[in-house]
């Protein structure tokens, strides 16, 4: 029988929530990597037992963990669990070595980016925000990092190489958002294997059509008057998240700092589709698994008040690809709710009746087995949720 596995990253560890296809009863395993920040976990579309996790700490830096058995056991790539248990024969583990490529042959000089006050600031690696496994090869995985850059591993996460041309696309005018200057979104185009979209706060969306060798900004139509004096600024936009339906990869949806946007031409131009939302600030955006024009956002009051308007936790759904939105409230708290839903904390499954999931900074993970019509918490008291990913299992 089919089932669902939810990978939850939190401020204090990772949790794996599993259910059968009914999605009524859930098993909770964790915390894995207890006490560490788990920014993101994601399974390989080509091998659902292969899962990558970003484990970070302000004290000890970045660790990459991998599971080859669907999240039951984990190890740093390059160091097999049985090898770690013996005194000899440990391989050289470099799975946490994220070094910007400054080599004369392949890299870009590590210059500076813009700091909050407009001065220039050195580029410094801090952590991996997002891991995006290849659609076809379990050993290939992309990592979006802070300070913003894109890395790729082709050996299952053992070693990482930067795709440095991205940093060269006006990197000196990129600037951190409130949470840092992170590359938080990586979208792979299933119809064009060499096309990659990435998004950075606060730089914008960038597209490569040659597997990451060259990049260009695709931000025309974005307006950010609160951050950028130039209304036609090519980069510098605080894009919070982009989402794509795999059957229609030229259509992208975006939750920007303010504004919900849509592109019908692979990012060449963007139009606002905020419509009747109560506020168009927010972090997360996602697309229904079977209806490419059904999209979800979680409106947040403002950039200075990171909680739902009126203390009511409402997911908004558009069945028209934007502009016309309906609140989804059944099963969600409609008073005194002041949690946030972060950019990587929504996901959908691909069962016949599409399941929708999101996690909150209050530690709840909510699930809807009917495309958002009705919600129920799977867990209520986890640490603040940073990310939610879903695997639909055969």
């Amino acid at each position: 029988m089919s089932g669902v596995r939810i990978l939850v990253g939190t401020r204090k560890g990772a949790f794996v929530l599993t259910s059968d296809g009914k999605r009524e009863r859930w098993d909770v395993s964790g915390p894995h990597f207890a006490g560490w920040e788990i920014y993101h976990l994601k399974g390989s579309p080509a091998d659902p037992n292969r899962i990558y996790a970003s484990q970070t700490s302000g004290w000890f830096g970045q660790i990459i963990q991998r599971s080859d058995d669907g999240g039951k056991t984990w190890f740093p790539p390059g160091s097999k669990p049985d090898e770690l248990a013996t005194p000899q024969g440990m391989p050289k583990g470099e799975s946490n070595k994220f070094v910007y490529d400054t080599s004369p042959k392949t890299g870009k000089p590590l210059t500076t980016h813009q700091w909050y006050d407009g001065t220039q600031h050195p580029w410094e690696f801090k952590r991996v925000w997002h891991l995006e496994p290849s659609l076809t090869d379990p050993d290939t995985v992309y990592a979006g990092v802070e300070d913003a850059a894109l890395f790729r591993s082709t050996d299952g996460g053992q070693t990482w190489q930067e795709l440095p041309e991205l940093r060269g696309v006006k990197g000196h005018v990129w600037q951190p958002g409130a949470g840092g200057m992170g590359l938080h979104t990586i979208v792979l185009d299933p119809s064009l294997p060499e096309r990659i979209f990435i998004a950075i706060s606060a730089a914008g969306v960038f597209r490569s059509d040659d597997a990451g060798r060259t990049w260009r900004p695709v931000n025309r139509g974005l307006k950010s008057p609160y951050a950028l004096p130039d209304p036609d600024a090519e980069v510098g936009h605080c894009v919070h998240r982009i989402a794509m339906h795999p059957s229609r990869p030229r259509v992208l949806f975006m939750q920007k700092h303010w504004d919900v946007m849509r592109s019908d031409d692979a990012g060449e131009s963007w139009q606002e589709v905020s419509g009747n939302l109560p506020t168009d600030f927010g972090f997360a955006i996602d697309v229904h698994a079977h209806e490419p024009d059904t999209i979800y956002v979680v409106p947040i009051k403002s950039d200075s008040e990171h909680y739902p308007p009126e203390g009511k936790l409402r997911v908004y759904r558009s069945r028209t690809g934007g502009n016309e939105w309906e609140p989804l409230t059944k099963g969600l708290p409609q008073s005194d709710c002041y949690v946030n839903v972060l950019r990587d904390a929504t996901a959908v499954d691909s069962l016949d009746s599409c399941g929708v999931y999101f996690g909150t900074t209050g530690g709840q993970v909510y699930a809807s087995a009917n495309a958002g019509d009705k919600w129920a918490p799977i867990v209520r008291d986890l640490p603040p949720v940073l990310s939610v990913e879903v695997q639909t299992l055969p």
């Binding site: 006490g35 560490w36 700490s57 302000g58 004290w59 000890f60 830096g61 970045q62 660790i63 740093p76 390059g78 160091s79 770690l84 248990a85 440990m90 391989p91 050289k92 583990g93 470099e94 799975s95 946490n96 070595k97 994220f98 070094v99």
Partner: protein, 98 residues
């Protein structure tokens, strides 16, 4: 043998219980001890010292023999008691929170 005490999270990562014991060739310094630690436990590379600069991560401190050695040069000899194995070299996470 040189004795090293790791913070709890790094003990978990390296899958060790209590103290770590290391054989260090030549002079016993912060650098030689950390080199030996990373050679023995490769997964600790980057967690105590930065991969590129090899500098101590900012939220970690090095103590031994009731002294704070965090700001000593990496090639300065560690106290004799550490070199003799009488006292451990402590890698300590800086305190945070209230």
């Amino acid at each position: 043998m040189i004795r090293v005490v790791l913070p709890a999270h790094l003990r978990t990562l390296a899958r060790v219980g209590g103290e770590v014991q290391l054989h260090v060739e030549g002079a016993v310094t912060q650098r030689s001890v950390l080199d030996a630690l990373e050679a023995r436990y490769p997964m600790l590379k980057g967690t105590v010292r930065d991969h590129v600069t090899q500098k101590r991560r900012p939220f970690l401190r090095f103590f031994a023999c009731e002294q704070d050695l965090s700001h000593d040069p990496p090639d300065a000899p560690l106290p004799d008691a550490v070199a003799m194995g009488a006292e451990p070299f402590l890698i300590v996470g800086a305190l945070a929170g209230g």
